[in-house]
Symmetry: C3
Subunit: 157 residues, 3 copies
């Protein structure tokens, strides 16, 4: 009997763009028969919130972001631009038939991807556990390492 | 007969600084006899463009970037500062005898590093495949995981 | 005889938030009996400086950063805001009983975590080796790959 492959991910970013890789890789790997564990820490912990409407993208400090209209950096810093860039990105994602973060997260949960919220981060940022979705566990770096020690693929996102 | 070591990289950033790690690690690993595969996704896909002149660095939101002259954040946001910071960084790189991204990318191709462009990203950002270099393949998260499942080193950049 | 597990980390970021993951994961893994090596490159190299007082956090381009008071992006770009955000974050960290970077770095050194400074980065940014702490070594991508080739967990931070 061969053991299933295993993938261990640390999700440390909380922006809309970097919210995709953990959930896309997690759900795809699970579909391929991988055992998957994702440790949500620092800003990444916000991806476990019930309400994901605060997950935004910033056009700042990312000259590689394809924008429909070239925009001077200073304009990108104006009030409302994060909200506008986020709305534009979400429209683009939907129009291309790419699933939303919510959908991909649900797919991960349904495929038994283990989701671990970082306890230290909950405490550090005064988060309320009631704001997070059900079906997750809480732990620390040791919890991650216990799982990751036998992983075939490990990624820090 | 022992199998060659294998390294699987996801290149997700498109800035000048983060363009270096995948190509430096890829070409070095290949020289050491590793089998290397790099999956270019999100902003990282722009690193497969024929024309790399748009690859820039941003001095914003990175207080750790060593700048020749300390610069207030607001000045960093002025029009032209990304271009200036990029030019300064490129001069520094050249003056130190460090290879350009183009050179390192060619070294990777010549060493048979497998380069995979993310299909979903091509579609999402309306990229044109004719803008990308030859000698690459296209695929998705499953393509990456198929290769990464047997990797000795896996990195998300 | 079984070999100890091994974790290989590349630390490429120099901000206060991203300074934590390498040292927390490094010291925790070492406590669990892992052999740990961290390769400090690009902005990450600044984390090996004797004086860590320059390690700052930027509230810019990170809409996921929990701030005590919501702040328009343009205000975040005002002079002094990096310093203010850094001071606030440090107070928060201390008030929550989380160790400082200095303490975690010392814990890593005492647990024989191998710390490798990137030679190319030293040269590129004209760093002075006398500014770095004792007990570290210097090397390149090949040094990292030699160690990482036998790692159970590999992470690019």
């Amino acid at each position: 009997m061969t053991m299933a492959r295993r993938m261990a991910i640390i999700a440390s970013k909380g922006t809309l763009d970097m919210a995709y890789p953990p959930f896309i890789l997690g759900s795809t790997a699970a579909a391929l028969g991988y055992e998957v564990g994702i440790f949500f820490t620092f800003y990444g912990l916000t991806l476990l919130r019930k309400d994901l409407s605060d997950v935004k993208i910033s056009p700042l400090a990312n000259p590689a972001m394809p924008m429909p209209v070239p925009m001077p950096v200073l304009v990108s810093a104006l009030p409302g631009m994060e909200t506008m860039a986020t709305a534009m990105m979400k429209r683009k994602i939907a129009s291309k038939g790419v699933a939303s973060i919510e959908t991909l997260r649900t797919a991960c949960l349904e495929a038994d991807v283990r989701m671990i919220g970082c306890e230290m981060t909950v405490d550090l940022f005064d988060f309320d556990r009631r704001d997070f979705i059900d079906g997750i566990e809480y732990g620390g770096a040791a919890t991650f390492l216990e799982f990751a020690g036998d992983a075939d693929v490990s990624l820090f996102i």
